[in-house]
Symmetry: C4
């Protein structure tokens, strides 16, 4: 392929080399897993607080071959902090909403086959119930398999501010706050963690559990 | 295996080293993905216009281990431009037809399990409808998931000129022009892009969407 | 990712560098296979007898990126032998129970999709019958495909001593002693061998056979 | 793992270093594909004629990590040519039978999930029909997709001479000679080619086609 993975490294990104290389590695692994094919998916890390600074993948880049230049710095509203950056992902606002929780340090969004297929199959019930699996203990704060995780499904839209408002309301819901992640119908998963390792682990857990649900559904 | 991947590099191909290495990398990745097993599949890049010159994989080569010599230069009719080249792929004419569109710079043909299986399952309806998926936005010119992509299915044949004529008619159809690609029944996918990166991305997108259709079909 | 795989190598673990690197390689392979995603799974090697000393993975580590420090030495009761070690896996006792058999040199526990899905599907019958497969000959002591392997399923629990007692009783059962391994419902597989190679091979065999059962179930 | 892949290279095998390394690479690839897990599978190359000398994998070796010492030289009856060799595969006679055809230069036997599952599903009809697939053209001598390949299924047995006699009769059948390969029920595939590359390609083709049959069967 003609895309280089080592193009120029912009000066304003150089302080974040470690986070950038972490996100590039995430892209490489997720592409190999089939969770981020083509230019789909976007990933971010919160690199500063007060005020919030988020490092997010630029729009339209192939996730299996991210270069160090394929990142953008945005503020808590998703606005570029620096001039002359590439366009940030169209879904940047969804990262900002997750980052409003001050314990969140990294946000990962993938487009897997299982999340796409199941989000359509279970759309009428508004979410997917993941219950009784030992693997649930991989989600932060879950300490027993006797746990029922409700992964809500939101309808897909190209109007991201609308979706961001709905996600924000769900995250702040007093009864059943959205904690570990959600699915957008026929689109993909969003999850987050206090750092990139935790968010990475949570994507692995959620993908595993969705595959279990789908494989169980294909058995009978 | 006894096949070397670094045999002699013919002089007439040396100006196209970058494109050739790009196509070899495509072969390696697609073979690993299971989309180009054995000697199946063929790939090409348009290396010149006025007149058109197409660089296409030679016939009968293992796509996971393409050497720099495993390529042929042909003209817009699929005829060899250079003497003493290996035989070009039997399906070279299908590349030529796609390359008649002057915006097309690369053409990829794969033989995946999902395209093979679904092309048979949906042959009676003449195509596969891919609708409402966010991933559709990875196809060039598609900007919303509210898009219905019709992937036509052509009957397989060993008489490639006949098939090429049908594909050409479909690409030039005034009502519903074939834009992103098509499937040949129990055979595989053809897609193209303005360059190799775009064509590569489109194969990834189409394979993803076909897998979604097949996995959905296996659920109930 | 920010996790290094070459952090300091504690002095008390240095005599076991070969076994540690073997277990790290197991982790890398199983993670790639999807059998040990996130921080799931745990592995051990018996490094001494009289008294028994077991080297087991520390709790909460990512199995695809184990460092040389991510291991703990425990005695036959699962108690740490050395001060200031990281916490051993919550399921250490299950390793100790398997290690009571003096011919056991390595114990592997994985969390695969197939074992999770099938353990739930077959929970009512208390186990999974693997019968008539040539691949059964990969299990130690099995010399013909005309063999019926009963893989018992135990209910999952967070109270490991209870489960350990049940497993111990099953391993010592006079009628049908548990020989090659077992499954915990919606959780994963335990297996063991006289050394790490044999245990590794047995996980491969059991995973293969479970996939056969599941794929057969999805056919009709 | 404790198994080295570069142990001593026996003198009597050194003339066959190229073939040995070819077979080791085959093992590595097939293990990664899941077609040769554990110590299953065996592979051979005919290294001499008049009299016939066959180089075959030793019994009980892990196919993903074959060392140069893990091979045995046998004659046309499967008897060891050299003293003090490791035991050859229990199924060596099946390689000898295929090698009786003087055009055969390499024989590959794999244990894949699809061949195992389908050989059981279709055992009553005595074989699997692979028909109308473009990919069939990857089998030697097949020049059109309008081809019906009958892949016979033999019952599994631990008495290899019996099975070898049946295979021999089928290969020499005047009406429908067995040409490209066969399946042993709940066991695996045998195929062959004039050299290792052709045999490798044929395994890829047969595995692809079996997956197509199985995926089609899981759709409805």
């Amino acid at each position: 392929m003609s895309i280089s993975t080592e193009s120029d490294f912009p000066a304003h990104l150089q302080p974040y080399a470690e986070q950038i290389d972490g996100l590039r590695e995430v892209g490489r692994v997720f592409w190999e897993r089939g969770w981020s094919v083509g230019t789909s998916s976007n990933y971010s890390v919160v690199v500063d607080r007060n005020p919030t600074k988020i490092l997010v993948t630029a729009s339209g880049k192939h996730k299996g071959r991210l270069s160090r230049a394929d990142f953008v710095l945005v503020d808590s509203h998703g606005e570029p902090i620096q001039a002359e950056q590439p366009k940030s992902s169209a879904e940047t606002l969804l990262h900002c909403v997750a980052a409003e929780d001050s314990s969140v340090g990294a946000i990962l969004h993938t487009h897997s086959v299982w999340s796409t297929v199941l989000s359509d199959r279970f759309s009428a019930q508004g979410g997917i119930l993941l219950e009784g699996y030992e693997m649930l203990k991989g989600l932060s704060g879950v300490t027993t398999h006797e746990h029922a995780e409700w992964l809500p499904i939101f309808e897909n839209t190209q109007h991201i501010p609308d979706l961001a408002a709905k996600v924000k309301a769900a995250m702040q819901s007093p009864e059943q706050p959205l904690t570990h992640g959600y699915i957008i119908r026929k689109h993909g998963i969003y999850t987050w963690g206090q750092d990139l390792d935790e968010a990475f682990r949570q994507i692995e857990i959620l993908e595993f559990l969705l595959e279990c649900v789908a494989r169980t559904g294909a058995l009978s």
